[in-house]
Subunit: 316 residues, 2 copies
Amino acid sequence: MRITVLAGGVGAARFLRGLRAAAPDADITVIGNTGDDFAPFGLHVSPDLDTVMYTLGGGISEEQGWGRDGESHAVLGELAAYGAGPGWFGLGDKDIATHILRTQLLAAGQPLSAVTRRLCERWQPGVTLLPMSDDPVRTHVTVELDGREQDLHFQEWWVRLHAAVPARRIEAVGAARARPAPGVLAAIGDADFVLFPPSNPVVSIGVILAVPGIADAVQAKTVVGVSPIIGGAPVRGMADACLTAIGVETSAIAVAAHYGSGLLDGWLVDDQDKDAVDAPELAGLAVRSRPLYMTSVATAAEIARAAVELALEVRR
Amino acid sequence: MRITVLAGGVGAARFLRGLRAAAPDADITVIGNTGDDFAPFGLHVSPDLDTVMYTLGGGISEEQGWGRDGESHAVLGELAAYGAGPGWFGLGDKDIATHILRTQLLAAGQPLSAVTRRLCERWQPGVTLLPMSDDPVRTHVTVELDGREQDLHFQEWWVRLHAAVPARRIEAVGAARARPAPGVLAAIGDADFVLFPPSNPVVSIGVILAVPGIADAVQAKTVVGVSPIIGGAPVRGMADACLTAIGVETSAIAVAAHYGSGLLDGWLVDDQDKDAVDAPELAGLAVRSRPLYMTSVATAAEIARAAVELALEVRR
């Protein structure tokens, strides 16, 4: 069985850990969002790729959901002593080693996909992890701050401002001219079905789909998504702030309707959102409800199993 | 009093700490060797500048003589886990922060002299620290290894091979087209005298003097040197291997003769090398003997005081 998954960060990583357990023999390809990438201190950080890699490779900080386990913070402490910023982005020493190596390999001319493959040689995540593109795509958020409209890198809005300042616009800068990374379109085309884990529909899945060619390839396949919204609120993160920016209500129904029945074939919602099962907005979509909180690898595996079963059921 | 010092690493740094104590009111400019600079993991390391900066700024590892105090090694451990090299160069986490910031500022287009000034804003070394040049100069060592002649970066010969493989040639690649960094020639020209601390005459002082314009400027001044050789052996490091490569004997007399009385005006040797005081090879040079082991800041200050006194005595 070939499964391709479009992935953001923590929610996707935990779902994938469940999927790997639920479908141990499946050939899983993960297409990771790189719109959140940025370069504090000149080090290329790919937060979503790293979260997937560390989680599946057994190196994640389980408490945080991102970053490395057993971290120290000597480097960041020293950079602060130099008065070097940004001071609002947490980077542990072990994590920094990943970014140093990535930056070195990129500077040597390797594309991000090759660098990601190289990093995964160590982590052996048990999936093929591909960046959505080797070309730079950067999610920018336009806000009103200090009395004027400002264009911020996603991380500055998300991490520094905790997405508490309303986003007027969210744009994946560079997406229109980005090309899918080598292997991305083939992994979608060859897949038995495509899964959307409970990732941010706007800045994770939405940005991946903004790379020309990816949405068309996905649309041609059976697609099942897992709602990142439970009971009208994001399970994790601040997806509500992103949804509001694009005029979508923060509900399991509205997110599925946003993707649309042209793209989605199946949709898993939490039992709290049972009303989605028969919602007229989702006509033509196979909607199932079940517990969706991933409180452990076992519960994540049950959710992943339900997503796989739904995909096999609705497969066209 | 204006004093300008050409500096290598550990010996220079300890001498400078003594000089600062011996001449607290002096305006001291240090011109640091950058021929040893290299870029493990893509991070720009300036070993000699950092050793001076950390030592004078109170952040040095006193045991090692280089690197930071109270170091951890999480980053290097992780890079090793990725199989990334070089594995033979020790870099602590705190030290790496310096290199990350330097690399970031250089990549942003700042010259090394400006970056060094920025780093020194934190360390407040009490001297003006200038790289000899903003242009890249890299000391290369030609050796016979694995049955063929190989051209190695200085650090690979020095750190990985412990200078145990004889050097056939030592060359400061890029020196011929390098320009003195802003302020270097003025600091020499404005100085009351120039001091050579007990640094490596070949790969430290020699490389600085290889930058066009510096030797001429130094030659026009009163110059007093402190012998890095005591009793026929280098006090620290493997200067003997470097001297052999350029056909100079490892002795206090031979090193002074190598600099020549055209360049040097005074020369401090250890009491073990009293024969240098009246050596015919050093005719025209004021040679004094005294204890030269820098076992503490106090002994380093006494040596520095003797160097200053000799410079004032022989000043032309």
